[in-house]
Amino acid sequence: MNPILDVKGLTRIHGTECPSCLDMTGPEHDTNVCPACGSVVAAANVSFSLQPGEILGIMGESGSGKSTVVKTLYFDQAPTRGRATFRDDDQSHELFNLNGAEQRWLRNHRFGMVYQNPNLGLNFNISAGGNIAERLLMNDLNHYGDIRRRASELLTRTDVMVSRMDESPKQFSGGMQQRVQIAKALATRPPLLYLDEVTTGLDLSVQAKILDLILEIQHELQTAMIVVTHDLGVIRLLASRTLVMKYGRVIESGLTDQILEDPQHAYTQQLVASTL
């Protein structure tokens, strides 16, 4: 089977790059700020592949570059360099060579994103149903009744009370806002979904329900996902393979059970030892 996504050498540097940026940052230098020019190396030479229907975990602490990876793949940020090939049915897209319109099309039709902060994923000035309708409209669903029906289906699927679909998500709890984001992301049945710290900051019982929902969706729709988190429990539950990042670098990758039971890198050993 061909991977749905192939990422090679993905690099993102904030600031002007100097020749020392990559040589003088990273885990062995204990920083991601270039001492020569002060630029921040958010991600450097990140490479991985993702199979259709697979859940890949990206684990690391704040500032490790894990969110940068999915934000570039979702076109929220432009990479400094690197390649990402997205295979969709028979077509192959070089993500970073596409023009703005093509990138928007993929983002609206074939990718889904759920952010840690619902503010980024939802428009609080329109209703929950309206947020989903917006995405459906971009997918050429124009009939009011059809849109409303599909939106209420999606909200039902993600356990949001349909009776509240005309309220602004501003009035919802954090867990419900995440459910609306997930419903919105799933509206187009995308083959690829990015989840960026989706359960961080939620109550444990709410976290559990969101994680259950994500697993059910993966079972039902065979959606490939990249799950970014600092939470080993989330990784253990969701991901079949895991990348561990520190200071913008992938320091280790492997089967999730192997990463958790036989971590190779000193930093991963420390992470695993401090949480289990």
Partner: protein
């Protein structure tokens, strides 16, 4: 029909595993110089004192541990022989879905899901419809004496023995070609242990190859076709084949 064959499905040669603990700056040997064979329709028992690395051998075969040295040749259903110490993560995941099974002492499963669905999961992953898979799961739970009133409950609150039965059922349901068993009967009563012995004998009849660790010598006598006694491990100086394969 027995499916005894002269061709091994698994050949472990010179396997060793050691942990490099960076914080303690220490190398901890876990198993070394392990050589063993497993054949279709037969059970190979790993024996030896505590700390000889019996569980480590099973975890290396399953890639939960990265082997430090040696090879683990596995004959796939399609006849191709691959080295489990060196194959890609994707290939390993594929083999875990379709050909390898691992039953440990402890049940690690998705919380909040009812026992029958936990057991059915390996079938669902192979594309069998939920209703069919759950029906088969219940059949197996019945055979392993798990009371019917528990089937729709999540196993988190079950007793140790009940959890272990759920765990066994999940490991056995998909009839893997190679089944790894790490003390699968450690907390079971006599009657259920008897049921497990009958089931494993059926598996042998059906041609399943097994590598097992039993705490009870009687089970070794009852089920094993070969016994491999492990000696306490020694330290090594070489590095990990899977990492080398990935780097090359």
């Amino acid at each position: 029909m027995t499916a005894i064959s002269d061709t091994p499905i698994l050949e472990v040669q010179g396997l060793a595993k050691q942990f490099s603990l960076h914080a303690q700056n220490e190398i901890v040997p876990s198993c070394s110089d392990v050589n063993m064979l497993a054949f279709p329709g037969q059970l190979a028992a790993l024996t030896g004192p505590t700390g000889a690395g019996k569980s480590s051998v099973l975890k290396c075969i399953y890639r939960t541990y990265l082997p430090s040295q040696g090879s683990i040749h596995f004959r796939q259903a399609d006849g191709e022989v691959v080295d489990l110490a060196r194959i890609s993560e994707q290939d390993m995941l594929q083999l875990r879905r379709s050909e390898l099974g691992f039953v440990t002492q402890f049940l690690h499963c998705v919380p909040r899901r009812p026992a029958d669905e936990v057991v059915a999961e390996p079938l669902i992953l192979r594309g069998i419809a939920l209703a069919d898979a759950v029906a088969q799961a219940r059949e197996l739970l019945r055979r392993l004496n798990v009371p019917e009133r528990l089937w729709r409950l999540p196993p988190a609150t079950f007793s140790g023995g009940e959890k272990q039965r759920v765990n066994l059922a999940r490991g056995l349901i998909a009839r893997p070609r190679l089944l790894l068993l790490d003390e699968p009967t450690a907390s079971l009563d006599k009657a259920t242990t008897g049921q497990v012995i009958d089931l494993l004998r059926e598996f042998k009849q059906a041609g399943v190859a097994m590598v097992a660790i039993f705490h009870d010598p009687e089970l070794v006598t009852a089920l094993a076709d070969a016994e491999y006694r492990l000696a306490p491990p020694r330290s090594l100086t070489q590095s990990t084949p899977a990492l080398e394969a990935m780097q090359s």
